[in-house]
């Protein structure tokens, strides 16, 4: 019983923490972010397992975590509003070459981030060449270029 409660508590806690930290914080992952994730994993592991290192305990915890994930995805499917709240919604950052600055500021994205995404995905050079830049739910920026004249 203890193992299930631990797993559910950690699952809910991580869900809340990562939602609070915002999608830009851990989605665009740098080397340091990666190390940070590993450390978070280490810290979580202790709390998850407690002092029970048996295989059964590991099984129970894995099953509980996967089940919680499935249950949450089913719940999000049945209640779309909850899904939107938990996952967020995509948002435009650039519209017809014009950056929407207030949004960018709030989302902690700057022009450099957008231009980086534009170069990497479309090979664009200037803001004016971007038709739409969208901050996706996953935290990545997707670029729709303007059609060439």
């Amino acid at each position: 019983m203890d193992a299930v409660l631990r797993a559910v508590a950690i699952y809910v806690f991580l869900l809340i923490i990562f939602r609070i930290s915002g999608r830009r914080t851990l989605a665009e992952i740098t080397t340091f972010d990666f190390v940070l994730l590993l450390i978070i994993g280490e810290a979580t592991q202790q709390g998850l397992l407690g002092d029970d290192f048996s295989v059964t305990n590991a099984f129970i915890i894995i099953v509980t975590l996967i089940f919680a994930d499935i249950a949450l995805s089913l719940f999000k499917e049945h209640v779309p509003a909850a899904g939107k709240m938990l996952d967020g919604v995509p948002m435009l950052l650039v519209e017809n070459g014009a950056p929407l600055r207030e949004r960018m500021k709030k989302a902690r994205v700057d022009e450099y981030d957008i231009m980086e995404a534009a170069r990497q995905s479309q090979g664009l050079e200037r803001m004016e060449q971007i038709k739409y830049a969208v901050l996706e739910v996953s935290g990545t920026i997707s670029i729709v270029p303007k059609p060439k004249e």
Binding site: L100, R101, V134
Partner: protein
């Protein structure tokens, strides 16, 4: 709801929900931002609270109580964590006649697993009040005994520590899961 109220012309443009190329929900987005910023503040407060010892080991957590008409002083953590070792320090003035006997009440022994005791007790006895630890002591000065104990459940732990005579020291510890 989002606190922004005095929005200018260009801001209005920014906050309008588009439906092409993606279906936006700026109302929800701004509420999310607002909740996130509150969340950051809560995280900051949690860090400060942890530094201060709200979750054990810090100034807020350190507590002490006396028993046996001031002959015994008990220092312990007001907040503990389930499964984490915590220290109970007991200072006994005038142990009396070569030995000091300290009794942990049954409630305490039920809640705590005693990991180590320093100095090692000469004897441990079961008494109607609980478990009695008997220490050899030399000299008349205050004797100091360290108990490293580990809570084995969560919630409020209430217990008593006593010397053979005099009123008992009561201690209460809240144990986090």
């Amino acid at each position: 709801m989002p606190p922004e109220s005095g929005i200018s012309q260009s801001d209005e443009q920014d906050w309008r929900s588009r439906s092409y190329p993606v279906h936006e929900d700026m109302e929800l987005q701004r509420t999310t931002w607002w909740v996130q910023r509150c969340g950051w503040a809560v995280l900051g407060l949690l860090v400060i609270a942890s530094l201060l010892g709200l979750f054990s080991q810090g100034p807020l957590s350190t507590a002490s109580t006396t028993g046996a008409s001031g002959r015994m002083e008990v220092t312990y953590d007001r907040f503990g964590r389930n499964g984490a070792s915590t220290r109970v320090t007991i200072v006994v003035r005038d142990g009396g006649g070569g030995e000091t006997a300290i009794t942990f009440s049954k409630a305490l022994m039920d809640a705590f697993a005693v990991d180590t005791v320093h100095p090692a007790p000469r004897e441990e006895r079961s008494t109607p009040d609980g478990t009695e630890f008997v220490f050899a002591s030399a000299g008349g000065g205050p004797h100091r005994v360290y108990f490293d104990v580990r809570p084995e459940s969560s919630g409020l732990i209430r217990g008593e520590i006593s010397l053979p005579s005099g009123p008992r020291a009561r201690l209460t510890q809240f144990t986090y899961p």
